[in-house]
């Protein structure tokens, strides 16, 4: 199934509506990502970003279209492997860190993959080291700062050694230093990443390519800088630079 030349992510003609709801949330959405790429997914509130993201590891059952992760289609029978491949970092770290210690949470994924003992411990240590959170291992998630919680949440999926990292609004609730540190961390990780955000400076700092999702479709796909320079395009999709921010500087 998996071919080395397969794109990291290939989404084709995805459409979705919530059962019982009238409007469609996703409409003929297509997106392709190559291995090693970092792509920013921009879009206003209610554009369908989170719904789209939940399709990538099959948390929402696909209705129309296809989602293929590194050559493996997201469908019944593949879900266990898909969830290993797609590391999903949710918007609120308190949703992601549900156990009593950071170490337990980072070990949760590997445990579900069937790893035990030294092998699992190694995964946990590596993941914590990768995000610079080794010192947080025995802390309770409730006691972490925003930046610490975000890094711990990232470690909980890195320990599953995913092929594709998906981050939903990773900068929400972070202070400026936390934001900068997270941007640096994501760049050094070097994995394939889809970063869902409406934090435009953050998108520029981390991703060379950006796409805009609005009303369930990809409406723009370009290098991040050129896309963000098109203020008229941004304005049409309820996106704008922070007040007083000058892209030229």
């Amino acid at each position: 199934m998996t071919r080395s030349d397969a794109p990291a992510l290939a989404v084709e003609g995805l459409a979705f509506r919530y059962p019982g709801a009238s409007g469609v949330v996703l409409e003929d959405l297509s997106l392709r990502m190559e291995s090693g790429e970092r792509v920013a997914l921009l879009g206003p509130n209610g554009s369908g970003k989170t719904t789209f993201v939940l399709h990538l590891n099959g948390l929402i059952e696909r209705q129309v279209g296809s989602v293929i992760v590194a050559g493996l289609p997201v469908q019944d029978g593949n879900l266990r492997e898909i969830r290993r491949r797609v590391g999903m970092v949710f918007q609120d770290p308190d949703d992601q860190l549900f156990l009593q210690t950071v170490r337990d949470d980072v070990a949760f994924g590997p445990s579900n993959l069937g790893l035990r003992g030294a092998e699992r411990d190694q995964r946990v240590d590596d993941a914590l080291a990768a995000v610079g959170a080794a010192a947080l291992a025995d802390r309770n998630p409730y006691q972490l700062s925003g930046g610490e919680a975000r890094r711990a949440a990232l470690a909980t999926v890195l320990s599953m050694q995913p092929d594709l990292l998906v981050l939903d609004e990773p900068t929400s609730g972070l202070d400026p230093v936390g934001r900068r540190e997270l941007a640096e961390l994501l760049v050094t990780l070097g994995s394939t990443q889809l970063i869902v955000t409406h934090d435009l400076p953050f998108a520029l700092a981390t991703c060379s390519r950006a796409v805009i999702l609005d009303r369930g479709r990809i409406v723009a796909d370009a290098p991040t800088r050129s896309l963000l320079e098109d203020r008229e395009l941004l304005g049409r999709h309820r996106l704008e630079w922070p007040i007083g921010f000058d892209l030229a500087r």
């Binding site: 939940l54 590891n57 948390l59 266990r80 969830r83 290993r84 797609v86 999903m88 949710f90 609120d92 308190d94 949703d95 992601q96 549900f98 156990l99 009593q100 210690t101 337990d104 070990a107 949760f108 994924g109 445990s111 579900n112 993959l113 035990r116 003992g117 309770n140 998630p141 409730y142 006691q143 909980t156 999926v157 599953m160």
Partner: protein, 257 residues
């Protein structure tokens, strides 16, 4: 009816090192329950046995190095029952005894003593356990005692989120107070109750998101995994010693009467 004593979950554990802290949590749980059962089963007239049980507990508290003052502070939980107990001799029926010139029910006196002794001893045992066992270890202990894994997982989620929700509620209360809302009477309770309703909605939605985060990492129904070996015999012996000593004392008292 005050809930203020139910403080911070994380502050229950007293982080010092002692033989009691090092006890296997599974053994300590069983030992605590066994001790509470023996205390509850000690005949009310066996004052000497209660004294022995208290002495055993004092030894455990000293060995555990959690500090008598902390134990006493947390024993405040049982104050309402002590107050209630003091009322029993006056309410109870039966033959009367004079205490300081006031006629009180003899059996009522014994009943009051019974409530005070059992409540204090049982509560102290529970306090020692939660002070010497961090929450994650306690959950692991429950899992190893074959408490159904769903129950352990539910308790684990509850313990994880209770402070978060309490903090959310407190922030809503702060936002109300800062807008001049200072309810003093039951009919002014509307906004406060509404905030509790909102908390339920947010909690439930968080539950759905947490479930998503669990499933995204391959959740199969188990939250608490334990790699620890079986409980060592020495731990069983140490943990059950207080209950065993007390049980022997009860038997000796009953037989010797």
């Amino acid at each position: 009816m005050s809930g203020s004593h139910r403080g911070n979950l994380r502050r229950l554990h007293v982080a010092v090192d002692s033989p009691v802290h090092r006890l296997d949590p599974a053994a300590e749980l069983v030992g605590t329950v066994a001790f509470a059962v023996v205390v509850a089963g000690t005949p009310r007239h066996a004052v000497a046995v209660f004294a022995l049980e208290a002495a055993v507990l004092v030894v455990v508290v000293v060995v555990s190095r959690i500090g008598a003052r902390r134990v006493l502070a947390r024993l405040a939980v049982v104050t309402p029952f002590i107050v209630f107990a003091l009322a029993i001799p006056f309410v109870a029926h039966g033959p009367r005894t004079e205490v300081g010139g006031v006629p009180v029910s003899t059996e009522g006196l014994w009943a009051a003593w019974n409530v005070v002794a059992r409540t204090t001893l049982g509560a102290t045992a529970a306090i020692v356990m939660s002070a010497t066992t961090p929450l994650p270890s306690m959950l692991e202990g429950m899992a190893r005692l074959h408490v159904p894994r769903v129950v352990v997982a539910i308790v684990s989620s509850m313990v994880r989120y209770v402070e978060l929700l309490a903090a959310q509620l407190a922030r809503m209360r702060t936002a109300m107070v800062s807008r001049g809302h200072d309810p003093r009477w039951l009919w002014q309770v509307g906004p406060v109750a509404a905030s509790v309703g909102m908390l339920f909605v947010r909690s439930y939605e968080r539950g759905e998101r947490v479930h998503g985060a669990m499933v995204a990492r391959g959740f199969t129904g188990t939250l608490v995994v334990s790699d620890r070996p079986a409980v060592a015999t020495a731990d069983w012996v140490a943990a059950l010693a207080p209950a065993a000593v007390s049980a022997v004392a009860v038997v000796v008292w009953v037989v010797g009467r």
